[in-house]
């Protein structure tokens, strides 16, 4: 089988997503990181004193913490060769017409305004450091739903902001949560009031435009009792020869009986280090679902977590990773069972080809305070050629005798016999291969909003150059 003839799904990236616009920043901090830069960001945003103090404490923690010694290779990141704050435009706009031309063109090419018209409840568009466009359907606003950039939320809803900010992920949680806490800018603030169900997804689109950019969005989501919403984020960046850094922090609070779904389609260009901390606090009988798609970036280290702290809480992670040439996807999930009768499920599917490496890294932790916990982990990896690699690093820590925990992992290449069978039925090798890979990732794709499922399927469609047989 001529696996090396597989067409890379990222081959069209440069033309489709990899373009860039001339930089015309409203303001731009000097390159590199220092206390002055942290102060400048805070001053530029006109923040309250407590936030500046928080940023400075976080900056101290960042300086003290060592780089992670595990996971992907981060030794090539040059933290002083990055712009920590680039403000692209004056203020957040409510209509696309008001958004500066270059920025509007970018989002047009990415199809964001069209998607908004067709199937979304609300949109945030972030360009470098700031949210440049924002919308929410009127009826949701009337119901009390808040969907703002995190900066605007700090100005408009200071009390609720202060009550929840940094409570799920403390600034000193890890080196990159500390960095984000020091220089955060943009991101989404979502508040779903008690009992409100938001039918169509809320979407945020993150775009890096500038070279050597560091994007540090900060997202805070509160789903009140009995509410439901689905938040979707997409990310892309131009292809540059020098590295960019994306270090987000996402905190989600799911109150009793609520259900929240958070979907990510990460498609950064392969010069982006994507080092993200995502964590949800899941209360009594609440459900948190992470759907995490990692297709892009040079290096990703991201393990969405659920802290199941209320009785009957449930956490789910569906994770898909695709690593091609020069990419290392170190992704996974963490489930912390801290209350009785909690349950969790992790399904991870990864595909590596052309020298790419995928790693599943996960944790299931059952505390003594969590009798009758049930957890299930399933991770499968496909290796499509002889120069690619895959790892599985799961940990199960069970301190409660009544827990029921299952873990399964498999690694394989596409079976010759499956290909042979499909080809004997009249498919070409490339069609057969595409069908098998589609079937492999299907459990995840079917959970995506339809528009994304179509897009992902199209991306994953593996073609062969030249027909075989």
């Amino acid at each position: 089988m001529k696996n090396n003839q597989l067409k890379d799904i990222r081959e069209t990236y440069a033309t489709k997503f990899g373009f860039n616009m001339p930089e015309a920043p409203f303001s731009k901090a000097q390159m590199g990181l220092s206390e002055d830069v942290v102060r400048e960001i805070s001053k530029n945003k006109g923040e309250p004193e407590w936030m500046l103090e928080y940023r400075l404490k976080a900056y101290e923690a960042f300086k003290q913490k060592p780089m992670p010694s595990w996971g992907a290779d981060l030794s090539h990141i040059d933290l002083q060769n990055i712009y920590y704050y680039i403000k692209p435009t004056g203020a957040e706009k409510r209509t696309w017409e008001d958004v500066p031309e270059n920025i509007k063109t970018t989002f047009d090419r990415l199809g964001v305004p069209q998607a908004e018209r067709e199937y979304l409840s609300g949109v945030k568009a972030q360009y470098d450091s700031e949210v440049v466009y924002s919308s929410l359907m009127d009826e949701l606003e009337e119901e009390g739903v808040i969907f703002l950039s995190t900066d605007e939320a700090l100005r408009k809803h200071p009390e609720i902001f202060k009550e929840y900010f940094g409570k799920v992920i403390p600034y000193a949680d890890n080196k990159f949560s500390a960095l984000n806490s020091a220089v955060w800018s943009g991101g989404s603030f979502v508040y779903i009031p008690k009992g409100v169900s938001v039918k169509r997804p809320l979407q945020a689109y993150f775009r890096i435009n500038a070279q050597n950019m560091g994007q540090f969005e900060r997202t805070l989501i509160i789903a009140e009792e009995g509410s439901f919403a689905h938040y979707v984020e997409g990310c892309t960046a131009p292809v540059y020869s020098s590295d960019s850094l994306h270090a987000a922090v996402v905190e989600v609070i799911v109150k009793p009986g609520a259900r929240f779904r958070y979907t990510t389609i990460q498609n950064w260009s392969d010069n982006v280090y994507n080092l993200v901390t995502k964590r949800a606090r899941v209360e009594k009988d609440a459900v948190m679902e992470w759907v995490d798609g990692n297709l892009g970036s040079k290096v990703t280290m991201k393990y969405p977590s659920c802290y199941l702290i209320g009785e009957g809480a449930r956490g789910e992670v569906l994770s898909i990773a695709y690593a091609s040439k020069g990419q290392h996807q170190d992704a996974g999930a963490k489930m912390i069972h801290a209350a009785p009768n909690t349950s969790s499920s992790i399904v991870s599917k990864s595909v590596s080809l052309r020298g790419g490496r995928t790693s599943y890294r996960g944790l299931v932790d059952v505390a003594l305070s969590a009798p009758n916990a049930r957890a299930r982990v399933e991770c499968d990896a496909l290796i499509l050629d002889s120069i690619s690699a895959t790892d599985t690093f799961p940990t199960m820590r069970i301190n409660e005798s009544s827990a029921n925990v299952e873990h399964e992992a498999t690694v394989s290449k596409i079976g010759e016999e499956k290909l042979f069978y499909l080809m004997s039925r009249g498919l070409t090798e490339s069609e057969a291969m595409g069908l098998i890979v589609s079937g492999f990732i299907e459990p995840i794709v079917r959970e995506l909003p339809m528009e994304y499922a179509v897009e992902l399927n199209r991306l994953i469609e593996l073609e062969m150059e030249g027909s075989v047989g």
């Binding site: 290796i383 002889s386 690699a389 790892d391 498999t410």
Partner: protein, 195 residues
């Protein structure tokens, strides 16, 4: 395949030259951490690792198994079956490593933890590091308590709860013990998990 009962030792490293079933019975009381590794350096060899142990009240086991495939066309199944009595614990790392040139490797790891007491602790880390394609590697790990309905059925047949539990634990190990191909090794393993 011939079976070989391994002596207790904290560091066991073997490069198998013929198809072998390696059986290791944990003493059931706390010992130094145990490292058991098979380095496959000869092509075409198929092996099995069977580690069994019933951890007595308050005792703990720390075990690492490594199945390292360095040449093409080798196979390994690693089994770790442990039962945990009151307050006992198991800390297990099970690695499957497949090196770059080790095509046609087939490696599987199977870990089952049966909880029969209260206050137990169990850490399991099954790790796969795969550098080659055209291989099959997988692991499965489960942790669960003795099923209530099994006990109920047996007690309804006249056994005491303790006898019923002992029978379930025996059955748990027997599913592995019966796979041991050499008679005297099988008998020693069976006796080892009874005490």
């Amino acid at each position: 395949m011939k079976s070989l009962l391994l002596e207790q030792n904290k560091n066991i490293s073997i490069s198998p030259v013929e198809d072998t079933q390696y059986v290791y019975v944990l003493p059931g009381v706390s010992t130094e951490p145990t490292n058991l590794e098979l380095n496959f350096e000869k092509e075409g060899v198929t092996c099995e690792i069977i580690v069994l142990g019933k951890m007595h009240e308050g005792q703990s086991v720390e075990l690492t198994t490594i199945s390292r495939h360095l040449v093409p066309n080798t196979s390994c199944v690693t089994n770790y079956y442990v039962a945990l009595e009151d307050g006992s614990s198991s800390n297990y790392v099970g690695k499957i490593i497949i090196a770059k040139k080790a095509f046609q490797t087939n490696s599987y790891l199977n870990n089952k933890t049966l909880v029969i007491g209260e206050g137990t602790k169990n850490i399991t880390r099954p790790i796969l590091e795969i550098e080659a394609d055209d291989v099959k590697a997988s692991h499965g790990a489960t942790t669960g308590r003795v099923r209530g309905d099994d006990i109920y059925y047996l007690t309804s047949r006249g056994l005491t709860k303790k006898e019923a539990e002992e029978l379930v634990v025996e059955g748990f190990f027997e599913s592995m013990v019966e796979k041991i191909e050499t008679g005297d090794v099988r008998e020693k393993a069976r006796a080892g998990v009874k005490s």
